[in-house]
Symmetry: C2
Subunit: 416 residues, 2 copies
């Protein structure tokens, strides 16, 4: 975006998010998964129940299966005397029927015999001998019973397409005998580190060189957001080199992230590459956020491509603010404002922090307990320092038009 | 625990947690991990920096490296004229020195040449020709520079034992050239499903039988809490069978969970097994919580063993309330009230819910947005129904001495 004088103009956070929200992206392909490995995966199809759960009426307590009408009016003073027809064995269909005036011992989860419609808890019964029991409390029809299909009915929609499976959901699938599900593949996200000064983690550094920090940070962020990171490696600041690896990455990735490119002119090179590998290319170049201002957002053949600044703190802020919402879409997850929240805590700011109007400031903070209160200590180091993230517990956002936060002011801290 | 009449007495949630808090447990062994696979793992040793980060003074901006004293008093109206000695190449040590009155072009991340102590941003400089630049703003010593060791000093404690690694932490390790770390092994937790009526997920059910729900639910809960679930299988309600598998499980697990055991007398059997396989055995049998009252907590040879009720909702509630805190200890994670919080939302209860004094009620709720408000709809089905968990977004706790929650009352919902 350029202003009237042809200079590049930064967009607001709101505007950038708005642009990203409207992107039409390639939808992730689906894959078949055993439910053993399905936790946190996103369903690509609705799941309907193939059967009733349970398939028979079950007792929810230990006690006596009865025909409820036999217990009407029973009390401690005037118990109902009922004949014991037998005992329900666990895991088997009772081989007897309850006629009027008959009962059967039953345990939690046991199948009600034909003729029974309720269960009296063992606490309200007193066996006289092997053949007879006193019932001291009436049971209503259906009392202490799970009816056929009461948990899940045959044909019922159990879980919706776009739902991310939680432990209890895999339990329900197991209960229905559904051992395989269709889920979206985890979106593959390529990480391209650039910079002539960058060397891999396992190499010694010479003066002038630094090791790659951003690839590891990004890989972790991508994994936690439900994606599959592909570290493409470290590439020198050369147009043809970067263009080639971006093109290659676009072939098998759902999204491409380019970090760094810190030498003079390289910033424009990343934008040029994004424009040259396909259309429409760059959507915005520069956002009024700190850290993270140099962020480039683009889309190429319906695949998002981001150019991230090289500063580690800027990488984290840009990821959480702009890339994570895009990643979520790519996972196929349906929007649910409750299930995908970020952890936050309310704290008091421990120091005055100033901010410029016209940009959104993301302040890293370390939390501290003082008695019953939580205080947020701002970590004011340069955004090029990885320790500003390592020492921090979370981030406080100072909005666009706010000029700072005063000591003691109550703030919302988004935890890492 | 038995009361004066020798009857078994349930303990309060508080008392049960207190008992569990005091347990001395077997500490997890450590293992060496490549940082590629270290995210979310817990460090078993402190990590000190082997070197300074960075090892040389770096520029944080694109501009001109200067001797700050050469720029004093410089302004738009009266710029300082300085000779260009050369350009700093990225990733290399400058092969020249800055004498007084000299400057060098430098990019973000570039190494300051000998003699330079600050960088003037490109926005505040105007090149006249290849040999000379006008500086329009004074630079203070150290301005726009990351000093040697400013991010991390050699020998500095970077990350503490007991810390769970986050994406940015692996980035810092990479930056320091630390590619392997010592971490605690994930605690192995055995899951033993019991019940003559239980069949595996991949088997057809006959009348009287139900498929195993709890093993899958528990496996997911264990994984998400940082453990490694070991599904031991499904076992019939027989003392010797259960005793044998508990003994086997204790050999290679840090914790053992037994679920179900729903036939009459089986509940006591689980307690008997826990008492018989080692000492001290059962610590409490029954907790004043709903669902989850039949929970058995024990410890055998410093390894926690729990007997969980068979009802799916009770399994989840007991896990979150009692087992997860024990699991956390087993992961070796150091306590941090901020970093290990549960997501909660504040909502209004959509219906009256009554509760008995003398027990803690855990009400499953589905959340609903009504305009700007969030409302919690209680799901009041029996705790034997897995769908009460599947349809729920979280849990509202009604404390011991509270008799219920009224419609419209503000509640805290702990999200799954």
């Amino acid at each position: 975006m350029r202003d009237m004088l042809g200079r590049e103009e930064v967009v607001t956070v709101e505007k950038a998010l708005d642009i990203l929200k409207k992107l039409s992206m390639v939808f992730p392909p689906e894959t078949k998964l055993n439910i053993e490995h399905s936790c946190r995966r996103v369903l690509s199809r609705d799941i309907f129940s193939p059967e009733n759960l349970p398939q028979f009426a079950r007792s929810t307590v230990d006690g006596f299966a009865v025909n409820s009408s036999d217990t009407f009016g029973a009390s401690d003073g005037l118990p109902a005397y009922i004949n014991i027809a037998g005992e329900v064995l666990m895991g088997a269909m009772p081989d007897f029927e309850l006629k009027k005036g008959m009962t059967a011992k039953i345990a939690t989860g046991g199948m009600l015999p034909e003729g029974a419609d309720a269960v009296v808890m063992i606490e309200h019964a007193q066996t006289i001998d092997e053949k007879m029991v006193e019932i001291m409390k009436p049971a209503a029809p259906g009392e202490n019973v799970i009816r056929v299909g009461e948990d899940i009915k045959k044909g019922e929609l159990v879980l919706k397409k776009g739902h991310r499976l939680r432990p209890q959901d895999t339990g329900a699938l197991s209960g229905l005998g559904i051992t395989e599900v269709y889920a979206y593949e985890k979106p593959k996200v390529s990480i391209i580190a650039t910079g002539n000064e960058i060397v891999p983690a396992d190499k010694d550094v010479k003066l002038g060189q630094v090791r790659d920090i951003n690839s590891f940070n990004l890989a972790g962020l991508i994994s936690e957001a439900g994606g599959e990171p592909l570290k493409r490696g470290i590439f020198g600041d050369e147009y043809s080199v970067i263009k080639k690896i971006v093109e290659e990455s676009l072939k098998d990735s759902a999204m491409v992230l380019i970090t760094g490119g810190s030498s003079v002119g390289t910033k424009d090179m990343t934008a040029k590459v994004i424009n040259d590998v396909g259309s429409p290319g760059v959507l915005f170049h520069g956002v009024s956020i700190k850290p993270g201002k140099p962020l480039i957002g683009g889309i190429v053949n319906n695949k998002p491509v981001f150019g991230l600044p090289g500063h580690p703190a800027a990488v984290t802020v840009c990821f959480e603010q702009f890339i994570e919402p895009v990643m979520k879409k790519l996972t196929g997850i349906s929007e649910n404002r409750f299930r995908d929240r970020k952890l936050t805590v309310t704290a008091k700011m421990a120091k005055n922090v100033s901010s410029s109007s016209g940009r959104e400031d993301h302040i890293r903070v370390a939390l501290e307990e003082r008695g019953d209160e939580i205080w947020a200590n701002p970590i004011l180091g340069k955004s090029g320092l990885i320790t500003t993230l390592v020492k921090a517990d979370g981030i406080v956002v100072i909005p666009l038009r706010k000029l700072g936060v005063e000591q003691g002011e109550v703030v919302e801290v988004r935890l890492f």
